[in-house]
């Protein structure tokens, strides 16, 4: 009993010590919540790396409002509870006036109420759930796309151009997968196509032979695949192994082509269509030079890592925030929130400006993998 109390006392004093350790800083702090550990760590780190490039660039130009900016990064583990903790830490300990994050939709949805209650704006960089901006929150701005926008954009191409008349869906059984199925199905149906089959899979599933066998006998002429990188690559690999290469295959939501080629193999990925957001080979028109500069800098700093959309969104996100702070003329949460409404940035990921739901319309495209290399098929906007 005595020993236990001893430990409790030690722990409590650690808490108290920990509380007092926050000191004043000159720089303007920007909070970032990303998964730095766990299965999503690779992507989360990409966002942070992109953000760091923007930080360097901005500080090299003299910062904003005459001050340097400083990123304060917390690990949200792509988990709601952890992300909320991270948000609280950033808001209370570091008193950041704005946060970018929290990568996963579930984590972002959990962080949103905290932002509202602390009256601090959140810039959402990668979370695609519709619920993030619908219903809109005055404290939440999003620079990445959502499934409703994607579905709308794809309507013009999916059936008419790409010929997805009898589509089958293979989607992750989560908010993201289900939202894509809903809106892309609409896009198919509106142009006279039919959805033959929808197969949901659990996260982490590896064996798709049963679903693919079902699809092969269903008469589908195309498969729309929505999942994470490894699962999508696995599905592509298995479509090939099941001899389903005559069926058109489309991978949604910016899964990088190089990863598909690397994981599924050159043979299996031949002819696969990929729905991209930012991609290195096809930046939005007018951004080519800026894009090359970004790629060069990134490759110089992180030589072993290919540039991906997460880095680009991280980079753009910080630029948007810096721009908003300049417009606000103060590192004040409420002023930054107001400023974000008016902020316009010609970003790598598209021309960023927010609509009445605080949603930007990022650029997207469709490319086809030929002999292991992606070729641009169509720019969507």
């Amino acid at each position: 009993m005595k020993g236990m109390i001893g430990i409790v006392v030690i722990v409590f004093s650690l808490v108290v010590l920990g509380c007092g350790s926050a000191g004043a800083q000159e720089a303007i702090k920007i909070g970032i919540i990303e998964p730095l550990t766990g299965p999503a760590a690779y992507d989360g780190q990409s966002v942070v790396e992109g953000a760091r490039l923007a930080e360097e660039e901005i500080n090299a130009r003299g910062g904003v409002l005459g001050k340097q900016i400083r990123l304060v990064v917390e690990d949200g583990k792509a988990d709601p509870a952890e992300s909320v903790n991270a948000a609280e830490k950033l808001l209370v300990r570091d008193q950041v006036p704005v946060i970018m994050g929290a990568w996963a939709s579930s984590a972002t949805l959990a962080v949103m109420p905290v932002m509202k209650k602390n009256a601090t704006p959140l810039l959402v960089e990668t979370a695609t759930s519709l619920k993030v901006t619908d219903p809109p929150s005055e404290w939440v701005y999003r620079i990445c796309s959502n499934s409703a926008i994607d579905g709308q954009l794809m309507e013009k191409y999916l059936v008419p151009t790409l010929g997805f008349k009898k589509a089958a869906f293979m989607a992750a059984n989560n908010d993201f997968g289900r939202a894509v199925v809903t809106f892309w199905s609409e896009a198919v149906k509106k142009k006279g196509g039919t959805v033959v089959l929808t197969e949901y899979h659990a996260p982490g599933e590896i064996n798709f032979a049963p679903s693919l066998t079902k699809i092969s006998t269903s008469g589908a002429d195309s498969i729309i695949i929505t999942s994470d990188i490894q699962t999508a690559s696995n599905i592509i690999k298995q479509t090939y192994e099941m001899g389903l290469t005559k069926i058109k295959r489309l991978v949604t939501n910016g899964i990088p082509s190089e990863a598909i080629v690397k994981l599924a193999g050159v043979e299996a990925s031949e002819g696969v269509l990929v729905h991209n957001y930012w991609v290195p080979f096809a930046p939005p028109k007018g951004q080519e030079a800026k894009n090359k500069q970004f790629m060069d800098k990134y490759t110089a700093k992180y030589p072993n890592k290919p540039v991906d959309k997460y880095a680009a969104f991280g980079y753009d996100g910080i630029r948007v925030i810096a721009q908003a702070i300049v417009t606000a003329r103060a590192a004040d949460p409420v002023k930054i929130k107001e400023a974000l409404k008016k902020t316009k940035v010609d970003g790598l990921t598209g021309n960023i400006q927010f609509d009445d739901k605080n949603q930007a319309r990022p650029y997207s495209s469709v490319s086809r993998i030929e002999k292991g290399k992606p070729k641009l098929v169509v720019r969507l906007n």
Binding site: G38, P39, A40, A41, Y42, N173, E199, Y200, H201, A202, G204, E205, I206, N207, A209, P210, S211, T213, K214, S216, T217, I229, Q230, S233, N234, K237, Y240, E241, M242, G243, A259, K262, L263, A264, G265, E267, A268
Partner: protein, 290 residues
């Protein structure tokens, strides 16, 4: 319809045989040592990563890599057994379970630090183009996986049935004290069993890793499946594990194909609960009190 059934059954048998390979090692460790080994999934994962490292980075021949990877994991298994499980021999089962869970977390996160979270794919020495036999499609890697699986299983079976070591293993399994009296070095048998079990898990990891992808958390789903199979076949039942693996593979295939893929994984868990409640010694075991 018939071709679809046939294809689904074949899919199921391919998956099922690798389930069986993973489960055989697990069931052996359980039957012999009464240890529920949660580290099994990590041995499976390490098998895949070692093979990847050998083929992709050191450019070793694929088949050589498979063997070396299995041996390497066996070495890891041996060390774990000696250092962590041997001191706990005869102690509460709960403690050993928690230790293997701790080890599983440790190894998985070590792999995450070492190889990173991005999935890897093992380069294969042959083209994986589909082979069409009438209505049925298969690939060389799957045929290879099934053949190696059954090769390994037969090998282990012969080892247990024919060799002196196998006889000692069976004696230890049936009556530990009697085996001790008969001069069997039970400690050595335990170490060997655990090492062999780890090797079988690694074999499954290499083979499935060649068909699918390799990533640090790949053991999580593998061990769940292996547990299901072990319970289906009866804990400690070698033949039961093989049949259980095939049954699970085929039911999953047919269930996903003709019921709903959403409930594919649920099928296994329902089977487990039913078996535990009504036939705890497994489908093939003699009914006995637990």
């Amino acid at each position: 319809m018939l071709t679809e059934v046939l294809q689904q059954v074949i899919n199921g048998l391919v998956m099922g045989s690798t389930y069986a390979l993973t489960a055989v090692g697990l069931t052996m460790i359980f039957g012999m040592m009464r240890v529920v080994n949660f580290t099994h999934g990590e041995f499976y994962m390490l098998g895949g990563f070692f093979a990847f490292q050998l083929t992709a980075s050191l450019h070793l021949n694929y088949y050589v890599s498979v063997v070396v990877a299995i041996l390497a994991v066996m070495a890891v298994g041996f060390v774990c057994e000696r250092v962590l499980l041997a001191p706990l021999r005869g102690k509460s089962i709960d403690t050993t379970v928690l230790v293997t869970i701790g080890l599983s977390i440790f190894l998985q996160n070590l792999a995450l630090l070492w190889w990173g979270p991005t999935p890897k794919s093992i380069p294969l020495p042959f083209s994986n183009t589909p082979l069409q036999w009438g209505p049925v499609v298969l690939t060389w890697s799957r045929i290879l996986a099934v053949s190696i699986t059954f090769g390994l299983i037969v090998l282990v079976h012969l080892l247990i049935q024919k060799s002196l070591l196998g006889k000692a293993m069976r004696a230890t399994f049936q009556e530990k004290d009697a085996a001790l009296l008969a001069g069997v070095d039970v400690e050595r048998i335990y170490a060997f069993t655990f090492t062999l079990g780890a090797g079988l898990a690694a074999g499954a990891g290499v083979l499935l890793g060649s068909i699918f992808l390799i990533y640090p958390s790949m053991g999580n789903i593998a061990i769940l499946k292996a547990f299901i199979v072990v319970i289906l076949g009866g804990m400690g039942n070698f033949i039961g594990a093989i049949c259980g693996g095939l049954i699970l593979g085929v039911t999953e295939g047919l269930g996903a194909g003709f019921v709903s893929s959403g409930y594919k994984d649920a099928i296994g868990f329902v089977l487990v609960i039913l078996i535990l409640m009504f036939r705890p010694s497994g489908l093939f075991g003699k009914a006995r009190r637990l």
